[in-house]
């Protein structure tokens, strides 16, 4: 096992190095921007995976934390000087806010069963969206506002490296997090909550910690997203962001961390190319249908997505059996 793990780490390291070198060998501006976008959404999707894939809870309110990060950065850089210091401060501020909000939201909502929890998170993120819409003195509502990014980010290459750095840091952090004893408890929550509770774990505490961690990382993604656009409006709080995170996580593979990164890549790339193709044939404008169908097929037939598929293929080749999440296994109605 240890050997296999080091092999994994080796592969990750090679991919990371390739990504670091990549912008130095190509001149393509489009690719640099596209990859930056992928990194940002990969961070968001990974944080969602911590909830969906590792703890087994479906949140419809993830956009709330993404929006908190985006607005913190936007407002900081607009009201103060656009320097690196304020940028870092704004990220910290967004993370602290996201931690506070996710803590209280978690305490309020995580006691409820899955569907009630999903609905309540949807309601709360809806409230945040309305607040962003109405608090016009601060957020400028749906029109949004532009701001100047720190000088150093004028160079797309620097920002690319920063986004990649954040992605790697989040990946390593989350990887450590889910393999820690704490993460093991989360996985046991996903597998069987009542049994975990009867073993003496305070399930609510663990779920709240998971949702705080996921919220903080989503806020980081939001901050980076704001910088990449140099513009914030209410779209960062909408359901679309949560849906994106959900699609990326499911298509890439839940409960794998690397899956959401793949998912973010696949979806962003396909979005880029298919909306390019739309000029030739309008059917491609409706590319989301393809993803919807792919997503449905993934939920039914490949509950572990791309990454899970590769993993089980790899293990099958080595003649090992793979376990499937209980929460995602097909179950027939009891009769």
């Amino acid at each position: 096992m240890a050997k296999a793990l080091s092999l994994h780490n080796g592969v990750y390291l090679i991919i990371a190095l390739a990504l670091i070198i990549f912008p130095f060998v190509t001149e393509s501006r489009t690719w640099t921007i596209l990859l930056t976008q992928i990194f940002i959404f990969a961070i968001l999707a990974m944080s969602y995976d911590l909830l969906l894939g590792y703890t087994g809870i479906v949140s419809f309110g993830h956009a709330m934390f993404f929006g908190i990060g985006a607005y913190s950065t936007g407002i900081f850089l607009k009201s103060f000087e656009p320097t690196l210091l304020y940028f870092i401060l704004s990220i910290a501020c967004g993370m602290v806010l996201a931690a506070i909000v996710s803590f209280f939201v978690g305490i309020l909502t995580l006691r409820l069963k899955s569907h009630y929890f999903a609905m309540l998170t949807l309601a709360l993120s809806g409230l945040f969206l309305v607040a962003a819409e109405k608090w016009r003195t601060l957020t400028y509502g749906n029109d949004g506002f532009t701001f100047r990014a720190p000088e150093i980010f004028q160079d797309r290459l620097v920002f690319y490296l920063v986004a990649l750095g954040c992605l790697l840091a989040s990946f390593v952090f989350l990887k450590r997090f889910v393999s820690s004893p704490m993460g093991r408890v989360l996985i046991s929550l996903r597998e069987n909550e009542s049994r975990t509770a009867s073993l003496g774990f305070k399930t609510l505490h663990y779920k709240v910690i998971a949702s705080v961690a996921a919220g903080v990382i989503a806020s980081l993604a939001g901050s980076l997203y704001a910088i990449s656009l140099r513009f914030v409006n209410t779209s960062v709080m909408t359901m679309d962001i949560t849906l994106d995170a959900l699609l990326m996580t499911i298509i890439g593979g839940v409960g794998t961390l690397i899956g959401p990164i793949l998912g973010a890549g696949v979806i962003e790339l396909a979005q880029h190319y298919l909306s390019g193709l739309a000029r030739e044939n309008p059917i491609f404008e409706r590319w989301i249908i393809l993803f919807g169908i792919l997503y449905i097929l993934a939920v039914i037939f490949f509950p572990r997505g791309i990454a899970g598929g590769i993993q089980s293929l790899y293990l099958k080749l080595r003649g090992k059996k793979v376990g499937v999440h209980r929460s995602l296994k097909k179950r027939v109605v009891k009769s």
Partner: protein
């Protein structure tokens, strides 16, 4: 006074439309224990089918029939393809029906074009009654009456017929119903189709009320219907009616008196109910 009545009638009409949507949802959840996030998609398909038929044939009755037919067909397809593989697993149901919702919404744009369509009111329902200073718009009254008729009809079917008995027994204990020799999966399928048809019917009535139909309204109304079902208590039909009227009235009064809060009022209502009484106001079971 006339202002109050107008706001009241307006809110009641909106509430009734939401009720039509929520009624199907509450049956599906109560009986089948299925969280159907694609319900709004069925609603919007009903709306578009009705508008399309109405423009083609100029008959409101045919439009409603067209919507019901669409609802039945889509309900059948949805149950067979989307819901059947994921019975008994809430997380997967949420995920898959949400995906199907996306597909349904985009399919609308493929079939009917990406723009919103204008919907007309048939001549015999256009215009309004004037009683003193109070102006009552005919179509709104029609919706309110239809809503109560549908409620009475469903209640009658549930409480007075054999089918209703099976459905109610299924809500309480489906294993027992199965053990008594009733093909519960067939009952599931029919209930789902009925729920889908109700949603499409709601969409058909919604179209002339709002004047335009657009693909994204499925998600908006789907969320509203869920809010109503959660407030009313999953599986309770009177609860859904009460909650739908509450949501409709709260929305229309807030829109007039505190417009800033009108967008948030439903979310606030649901949050309060979920925090203090998570099983809803009229829970069918414990």
């Amino acid at each position: 006074m006339e202002l109050l009545i107008n706001i009241f009638v307006n809110g009641l009409a909106t509430g009734m439309l939401i009720f039509l949507l929520a009624a199907g949802l509450t049956l599906i959840f109560g009986l089948m224990d299925v969280l159907n996030f694609a319900h709004g998609g069925l609603f919007v398909w009903g709306a578009f089918a009705a508008v399309w038929t109405y423009t083609a044939t100029d008959s409101f009755m045919l439009a409603i029939l067209g919507a019901l037919l669409t609802g039945v067909v889509l309900g059948f397809v949805t149950e067979k393809l989307i819901i059947a593989p994921v019975y008994g697993n809430h997380v997967q149901q949420i995920l898959i029906t949400l995906g199907f919702m996306l597909v349904l919404t985009e399919m609308i744009k493929v079939v009917f074009g990406p723009n919103q369509l204008a919907a007309g009111v048939p001549s015999y329902l256009a215009g309004s009654f004037e009683i003193g200073d109070v102006i009552l718009i005919k179509y709104r009254l029609f919706i309110i009456v239809t809503g109560f008729v549908v409620f009475a009809l469903i209640q009658f079917i549930l409480k007075r017929t054999k089918i209703g008995l099976i459905v109610r027994a299924g809500v309480l204990n489906k294993d027992m119903v199965q053990a008594l020799g009733i093909h519960i999966k067939k009952v599931f399928l029919y209930t789902f189709i009925a729920g889908a048809a109700l949603a499409a019917f709601g969409g058909a009535l919604m179209a002339p009320y709002s004047g335009v139909v657009y693909a994204e309204m499925g998600l908006e109304f789907g969320i509203l219907a869920f809010i109503v079902v959660v407030i009313g208590g999953m599986g309770s039909l009177p609860g859904s009616l009460f909650a739908a009227i509450l949501v409709g009235l709260a929305g229309s009064f807030m829109a007039y008196y505190v417009p800033d809060l009108s967008l948030a009022v439903n979310m606030i209502l649901m949050a309060i109910v979920l925090i203090f009484r998570p099983q809803g106001l009229f829970a069918a079971r414990g």
